[in-house]
Structure formats: structure tokens, C-alpha cells
Amino acid sequence: MIGEWLDIGWLHQIPLRGSRTIPVEGGEEIAVFRTSDNRVFALANRCPHKGGPLSQGIVHGHSVACPLHNWNIALTTGEAQGGDKGCTPTIPVKVDAGRVLLCRASTLRAAA
């Protein structure tokens, strides 16, 4: 039986104000972020600008600054902020009893 949620590990495995990556076979790598208020967000690991790996950016508030050209991407929506235009797909993610769970269907869609 395949569940709706993929258990990818413990919350504390993601550094506070940091990110970890989950490669998806045949598809796009996903970046899971943990913000200073201990919330978790998942996005495709790709800046809408030039495809920079968002997982390597500086996480501040609920945004991440892309390491390539410093675009700020909202973790909640994947939208570029300020004057920049573009959007990165987001993947529903939740934390249950300390485990981080990714929405399986959206992960597959991002992969397809």
C-alpha cells in the first residue's frame, strides 16, 4: 500500500535556517527548508531565474536568497519577491511527531 505522504526523515536533520535536498529519480530534485520559527517548506530545488539550487541559499524569514543571483524566493508560494518575476513549484509538506512528510502526488508531479 502506497501512502499519500513520503516520510523523508526527522525535522532536526534539516539545519535551522537551512535546507536539505531530496533527489527524485527521473525528475527534479526537491529542497526542504526549515525556517527560524521551525516551519518546514518544500520547493523544487531550482530558482525560476536561472535554475540556481535554492537549497544552498541563505534562509531568512520565510524566504530564501538564491545563491546565484540573490533573487529572493518566498518559501510559502515559490514566487520571486521584490521586482523579480517567476515562480518555483512548491510541494505540500508537513511535520508529524517530528517526522517530515512530503506529499507523494506533488513530488511525483514535480518529477514528471
Binding site: I2, I14, V24, G27, S36, D37, R39, P53, H62, T76
Partner: protein, 839 residues
């Protein structure tokens, strides 16, 4: 305690009954706050409707569990926290079976069995078993001296342990753990709090408030270890200490495990009731069995489990209404936490991370130790965190629960209810105009409104002029908004509203120099402290200010400041240069640009082994290996380390390379040993963090083949010595160096180099290269400090060398040995079934 009698029965079965025919029998499992409150609510509605029997695991009457902390702290006695004494049970005809917990429920025969074997029939059963402390499964958890903090027995055990003084470790920096720590400190124990997360009470507080709490508790003598993971509780026959995963061992004769609680559901699960995270109930607190109800911390309602006391009151109301057939229903609770830890006021409610469209309103008052943050979405309060001043917690919570539109008071919201509902109404300027002349504007410097206005009418037309004229807003800056409003009110249209100095970023009203001066003069030690004391307007800064603050602290506190990896740009975090495709390039250090066959072989091997698509000779005379994946970096470094090479820091705001020409050793024009000097200088300066990248070159003669006159620090050798040049740059805007001075020995050249670098490290703004820095401060300033002031130069040089004594560990070696492994590894990998991908 005279009522603490095991297996005591406080009233008997033959209690006179008010109703006829015989009332239904309600059996309550749990003599705690929820069970008894439910019975109280029921009695208030219809006293005779049920005959009530309460089973309690503890041999005590009902007491207020949340007041255990004051008992531990010695502020209250057990008698003070009793909610219902034995007379209450007797007066209401309630049978209390204390100290004989129910061990089984039989729903078929509708009976419960107690540990003593006593079987009691019920018509309605109420489960109020509360929650159990969570014990982390580490070796030694069962040693004598390891206790939880859940009931009066635990408190008695702690008090007994505290009599002998000594060391205590509290595992868990949440509410319960901190209260235990506070109580034990007051009882004379030396307490260390070990907390897994980086922030205390991370579920209730954000990082800024957590930091304030931590420093205040440390000020009260506790040792707080955050980010500390317990590996083992050690001891031979009894507790002797706690060993952390990082290897530290903390001595302890008492260990309090306060990492969290879990709904106590074992009884219900064995009885076959629907159990999720808690015992599942409907809006009337009825479980999957119509005759079995449940209430309190043990239940799960609508997917939620509550560990606070406020939801319990609502649940008990709904439960009692249901039991007397006047169904009202429980709809879930929005919770807030308002508490005092060690006399410190803390409040939190709702979501304080905020979702899409959320805005933070932050007020920091450093002089009073206050931090307030209100989270607003669509003109409604959705969360709040308050530290130091929680007066308005109730008001924010009320606005939150009612979902009230706060647009009319938004600008004044953060100042609190009295301010927002006062004369100001919707216009902050009107509010400021309405203030009396005596009203204090700047708490730090004691400046009232009258003085600020007098300063403005006396000619101060900008914020900086006001700061200079009357000191208002010149210290912590938290009144900057008020001063600007006063400028606007006083000058009308004449106020242009411009700042003369550029602020560091949008998070602060201070410029780089102000922040830096404050860090040094006021001895700030951590990023959250700087943000608090200087009234940052965001909870955790931004991608501009965080790396700058990290650098300033690193520079100010060599050897002491703990580098914040998450405040570093990716290259400095991964010790390699990120490329446009997300791979990295790796540059090993080649001292002075000199290499050996062994090094070249090792580089060639790495290139082949890791399929690097390109190797490039850099402008700084090094080899750059391209296309390495972040996962392969530690292995690449291990291979390079094995050949004796270390990080080239080609990725950092740091000393990059010392470029040399061959000099007198080979060149027919060479005047001095430029390669030898270059290597010495690189050995001295490598590993140092700088405001920006820093390049050095040494040319052996004025033909200047090493291009020393476009470097940050360049040496041009001449027959009579060494010309020292500074502030060159070959970037977007080419700038040739200025001549600093000429010296006659290699040692002098190195000493001046160290002094110049340290001056740059201490005075330049983050991300300011030497060229714009020198143009800003003037070459005369540099010459005065480095050349003319011999004592100052020597002091600069020693500060640089002292700082270097902590910086010259190869970061690659640590990573190759396994440090920060998670930075290079994926968290998980997902391989969908092929059929799913097609679907």
C-alpha cells in the same frame, strides 16, 4: 500530607442519593484537573443526576498540576495548590479511590478493574488520564536519580535531591524543563539545561525571544546548552552525569527528564476505543463508544491534541452539557501561552511564522529588555510573541480569537492597547502630536517630546541632526519611528524624510559603521543579541545583514565567536565555488603559486576520478577544478589533503592568493626573492576572513610581472628594499594601487602587510574592497595608522596574528574527516515505481 493515603476511600457506596430511581453511575478515571473539573461542571448543572466515583493513580486529592513549579521553587506549599479538598468529595457524595489506578476497562460488561482487583460497574465512563512524560530512550534512563516532572511525587523527589545541593541536569528546554531548572536553582542546585534545539521553548518562542530568555536565565546562574543532544545518562548504580553526543559530560546527581508529554492512551487502546495521537472524541467528548467519554490532555479532538490548561475548561463545559442532555459542543481551542519563567514574562499565541501574506510588526526596546512581535495577515492578528512586557498579550489574543479587523489601529498596534485605543486612532502622526511635551520619546537617553521638538525647531531637519542635537534615537534606535513622526509633524512639508547615511539593510535604521561600533563598544557576542539590542525590524535578518553581522562578530571576537554557518554565503559554507549549474569548483592552495609534481599528479588524479570536465589556470596562479558535485566534495578534499594540499579559499571573503614572479632566484632582472617572500606572506595570511576578497602579489622588480599594482596589497621589490602598494583592483573599475611606503627588510614588509590587513578587517564595511574603502577614508588615514604610528602598527599586527592563530585550520580537512556531513549529503532519495511515473 495527611490526606495522602494509599488506597484511601473518602466516601462510601451508601452515600444518600438525591434522585430516585437510582441515578446512573459515572466512573471517572483520573483525579486530575480535567477529571475533577468535568465533575464540578456536571454538579453545577444537575447535582443528583449521576452517582460519581473517581479513580486516581496518585494517593492524593485533586490539585493544580500547573502550580507544581511554585511548589518546587518554594513559593507555595502543597496545601496551597489543592483544588478540591476531601470535604468537597464528601459534600458532593463523590467516592474517591485514590492510589488505586484503573488497569482495565471491559466495555462488554461495563466495568473497570483497579490495580487492587476491585471491579466497579459503570453506566457512563469518563477517561481523564491526562498525559505521560516522554522519556528519551537513552542508556541510563532508568538509573536512580533520573526523574520526570509530572506529579507531586516527582517534586518530592527533586526536593529530596536538592537538599544535598550539587549538580542537576534538566533535559529539555521547554516550559516544563525551564520551570524545573528554575526551581532547582532556587533550591541551591547548580543547574545545566540541555536542549536539543537551538532555541529555548522553540514551540512557543521565536529565535529572538528564545535568545533573550536564554541570556536572562544564564544571568541567573543556569548553564544553558542549546543544540545539545543527549547520548547517555552515566552512573554506577545511580546518576553521575549526562554525556552528550558531542562528547561532553556534565556531572549531575539529579537528572530531570522534561522533553515533552504524550497523551496517556494505553487504557483506552486496550479497551478497543478509537485512538489516534489521543483518544478520539466528538464535539461532545464522546469516544467511539457512546457510553465512554474522554476529556483533557489524553484526547484528540478534530485532529488536535492539547497540552495546555485553557482548552480543558472548554472541553469540560461541553462534556457536562452533553451529560445532562443539553448539548452545546466543543469546537476546538486557539491557545496562547502566558507565563513567567524565573520571573521573566513570556507570551505567545497563534502562528508566529506566518504564511503567505503575513507581515511582522516588531518592536524592540533594548533598554527595557522587551521584544514584541505581532503577526498580521489581511488586517487581522494571527499571532504574537512577547518577551519582557506581556501586558498586551491578552489584548492581542483577544484580537486574534475574534479575528477583528485591525486596519484602523494597525500603525499603533505594536505599542499596545492603551496607545492604539488612545488619542492616536488611525494616524500615528496624530498620536505623536497628541503626546504631551513631557512624554518620553527616547528611553535610552531620557529625551522627552519637548526636547526633541525644540531640537527640530532649532534647525535639526533630519534624523541624524536630531540624533546629534539631543541624542534622541541615538542609542538603541527603537524610537526612530517616533522621532521621524515628530520631524514630520513639526516640519510639515519641509521634512524630506531622507536619511543621510545609508542603512545596513532594510532590517535596521543603522548604518554599517554604527552597527560595528556598537558591537565593539557594547560587547555584543551573538547575532540575535545584536538584532535585539539594535532593534532589528525583522525576526532573523536578511541575506544582506546576516553575513555582515557574522563577519563583524567573527572579527571582534577571535577564537570566541561561534561562526553561524547559516549566515554564510553558500561558497563559504561549502568551501568551494558554486557554478551556474549548481556544481562546484575546487581550488587547492599552491603557496606563492609554486607547485610540485606530486601536487600536480594528485590534482590530475582528482580530475579523472571525479570526472571533472575542466581544469583552468586562474588569474591568481592556481588550478581550478570544475564540475564537482557537493556530495563528492569531501572525498575530493580528502584526496587533495593526502597530497599535502589545503583549501585555497578561492571561494571566500578571505585572503585569496599571493601571486609571485620568479624573482632573484631565476630572473636576470630580479632584485629580491619575490617567490620566497610571497610564500612567507601566504603562510602568514591564509585562512583569514575579510570584509571582502583580498589579493596579494609580490613582484621581483619594477617590471612588475606579478601585477602587484592592481592587488589589495602589492609588493614591488627594488634594489634597496620593498615598495608597499595598497588598494588596487582589477575588477569592473580598474584601480591602480596607492604607494603606502617603502621598507628595507622582508620582515618589515610582512609586518606592514599584517597591520594593513587588520586595519582593513576592522574598519572596512562588509563587502567593501580595499579600493573603495581607501577612497572613502583617504590614503592619509591609512598612512597615519599603518606607517606613522609605530605602536598602533604593532598592535594591529599582533591582533591580526592573534586572530590568525584560530583561523589556520584547514576547513577541508575537517570536512574530509566527516564534519558537517549533512551539508554534503541528501536528506533522502525518492525512487518512484516506474508504473507510477507513467501514471
Amino acid at each position: 500530607m495527611d490526606f495522602a493515603i494509599a488506597n484511601d476511600t473518602l466516601s462510601s457506596d451508601d452515600t444518600p442519593l438525591a434522585h430516585d430511581p437510582a441515578p446512573a453511575h459515572l466512573v471517572v478515571i483520573g483525579n486530575g484537573m480535567a477529571g475533577c473539573r468535568a465533575v464540578e461542571e456536571l454538579i453545577a448543572r444537575d447535582a443528583g443526576r449521576y452517582r460519581v466515583t473517581i479513580f486516581g493513580a496518585e494517593p492524593r486529592v485533586n490539585y493544580n498540576r500547573i502550580m507544581l513549579s511554585p511548589v518546587l521553587a518554594g513559593e507555595k506549599s502543597f496545601d496551597d495548590i489543592v483544588i478540591n479538598d476531601r470535604a468537597w468529595y464528601a459534600d458532593n457524595g463523590i467516592e474517591l479511590v485514590a492510589g488505586d489506578p484503573v488497569v482495565a476497562i471491559d466495555r462488554k460488561t461495563k466495568t473497570v478493574t483497579a490495580r487492587s482487583g476491585r471491579v466497579t460497574p459503570y453506566d457512563k465512563l469518563l477517561i481523564a488520564t491526562g498525559s505521560d512524560p516522554f522519556i528519551i530512550p537513552v542508556p541510563g534512563k532508568d538509573l536512580p536519580g533520573v526523574i520526570s516532572f509530572r506529579d507531586m511525587d516527582d517534586v518530592d523527589r527533586m526536593l529530596a535531591a536538592a537538599e544535598g545541593g550539587g549538580d542537576a541536569v534538566v533535559i529539555g528546554g521547554g516550559l516544563l524543563g525551564l520551570e524545573a531548572a528554575h526551581g532547582l536553582t532556587l533550591r541551591g542546585m547548580k543547574v545545566t539545561v540541555v536542549h536539543l534545539m537551538r532555541t529555548l521553548m522553540e514551540r512557543q518562542l521565536d529565535e529572538a525571544a528564545g535568545w533573550l530568555l536564554k541570556s536572562a536565565l544564564e544571568g541567573r546562574g543556569q548553564t544553558i546548552l542549546t543544540g545539545a543532544d543527549t547520548a547517555e545518562i552515566v552512573g554506577d548504580g545511580k546518576v553521575e552525569g549526562v554525556r552528550l553526543k558531542d562528547g561532553r559530560t556534565i556531572p549531575a546527581s539529579l537528572v530531570v527528564m522534561a522533553v515533552g508529554i504524550r497523551p496517556s492512551v494505553a487504557l483506552a487502546r486496550e479497551a478497543g476505543l478509537a485512538v489516534g495521537r489521543g483518544i478520539q472524541v466528538d464535539d461532545h467528548m464522546v469516544t467511539s463508544d457512546a457510553d465512554v467519554l474522554a476529556v483533557g490532555e489524553c484526547v484528540e479532538h478534530d485532529g488536535n491534541v492539547y497540552g495546555l490548561v485553557a482548552p480543558l475548561w472548554d472541553m469540560c463545559r461541553a462534556l457536562a452539557d452533553g451529560l445532562v442532555e443539553q448539548h452545546s459542543g466543543y469546537r476546538g481551542s486557539v491557545t496562547s501561552t502566558k507565563l513567567k519563567v524565573a520571573g521573566l514574562d513570556v507570551f505567545s499565541a497563534g502562528e508566529f511564522g506566518g504564511d503567505e501574506g503575513c507581515e511582522d510588526i516588531v518592536l524592540r526596546d533594548a533598554s527595557r529588555g522587551v521584544y514584541k512581535r505581532v503577526v498580521v495577515r489581511d488586517d487581522r492578528v494571527v499571532g504574537a510573541v512577547l518577551y519582557g512586557d506581556t501586558t498586551d498579550g491578552g489584548w492581542y489574543f483577544d484580537l486574534l480569537k475574534r479575528g477583528e479587523d485591525i486596519s484602523t489601529v494597525r500603525d499603533m498596534l505594536i505599542f499596545g492597547q492603551s496607545f492604539a485605543s488612545g488619542g492616536g486612532q488611525s494616524d500615528p502622526k496624530a498620536a505623536v502630536a497628541a503626546l504631551s511635551d513631557d512624554a518620553e520619546i527616547c528611553g535610552c537617553n531620557g529625551v522627552n517630546k519637548g526636547k526633541v521638538v525644540a531640537c527640530i525647531t532649532g534647525g535639526a531637519a533630519t534624523l541624524d541632526a536630531v540624533r546629534a542635537g539631543c541624542k534622541a534615537s541615538a542609542s538603541c534606535g527603537s524610537c526612530t519611528g517616533l522621532v521621524e513622526s515628530l520631524l514630520a509633524v513639526t516640519l510639515g512639508e519641509d521634512y524630506v524624510g531622507e536619511r543621510t547615511t545609508r542603512t545596513m539593510c532594510k532590517c535596521t535604521s543603522f548604518g554599517h559603521d554604527d552597527v560595528r561600533r556598537a558591537i565593539v563598544e557594547r560587547g555584543f557576542r551573538e547575532i540575535p543579541q545584536v538584532m535585539q539590542e539594535l532593534s532589528w525590524s525583522t525576526p532573523d535578518g536578511c541575506a544582506s545583514c546576516r553575513p555582515a553581522l557574522n563577519y563583524y562578530l567573527l572579527c571582534a571576537l577571535p577564537g570566541e565567536y561561534v561562526d553561524d554557518q547559516q549566515s554564510r554565503f553558500v561558497n563559504e559554507r561549502l568551501h568551494a565555488n558554486i557554478q551556474k549549474d549548481g556544481t562546484y569548483s575546487v581550488v587547492p592552495r599552491m603557496w606563492g603559486g609554486i607547485t610540485t609534481p606530486g601536487e600536480l599528479r594528485a590534482i590530475a588524479d582528482v580530475v579523472e576520478k571525479y570526472d571533472a570536465p575542466m581544469v583552468k589556470v586562474t588569474g591568481g596562479q592556481r588550478l581550478d577544478i570544475f564540475g564537482i558535485k557537493k556530495e563528492d566534495l569531501p572525498a575530493v578534499w580528502a584526496d587533495l589533503n593526502a597530497a599535502g594540499m589545503v583549501s585555497g579559499h578561492a571561494y571566500g571573503k578571505a585572503l585569496r592568493t599571493v601571486k609571485t614572479c620568479v624573482g632573484s632566484e631565476w630572473c636576470r632582472f630580479g632584485t629580491q626573492d619575490s617567490t620566497g617572500l610571497g610564500i612567507k606572506i601566504e603562510r602568514m595570511t591564509w585562512g583569514s576572513w575579510m570584509p571582502h576578497k583580498f589579493k596579494i602579489a609580490v613582484s621581483g622588480c619594477p617590471r612588475n610581472c606579478a601585477e602587484a599594482t592592481i592587488k589589495d596589497f602589492g609588493i614591488v621589490c627594488v634594489d634597496s628594499g620593498y615598495e608597499l602598494h595598497v588598494g588596487g583592483n582589477g575588477g569592473i573599475k580598474v584601480r591602480a594601487t596607492d604607494l603606502l611606503c617603502k621598507v628595507s627588510t622582508e620582515q618589515e614588509a610582512m609586518d606592514y602587510c599584517a597591520a594593513f590587513i587588520q586595519l582593513y578587517r576592522e574598519e572596512a564595511r562588509y563587502l567593501e574592497r580595499t579600493a573603495p574603502w581607501i577612497e572613502r577614508v583617504g590614503l592619509e588615514h591609512i598612512i597615519a595608522k599603518v606607517v606613522e604610528d609605530e605602536v598602533g602598527r604593532e598592535a594591529l599586527r599582533s591582533r591580526f596574528l592573534f586572530s590568525q592563530s584560530f583561523c589556520q585550520d584547514d576547513p577541508w580537512a575537517a570536512r574530509a574527516a566527516g564534519a558537517e556531513r549533512e551539508q554534503h549529503a541528501h536528506m533522502a532519495e525518492f525512487k518512484p515505481l516506474a508504473v507510477e511515473v507513467l501514471a
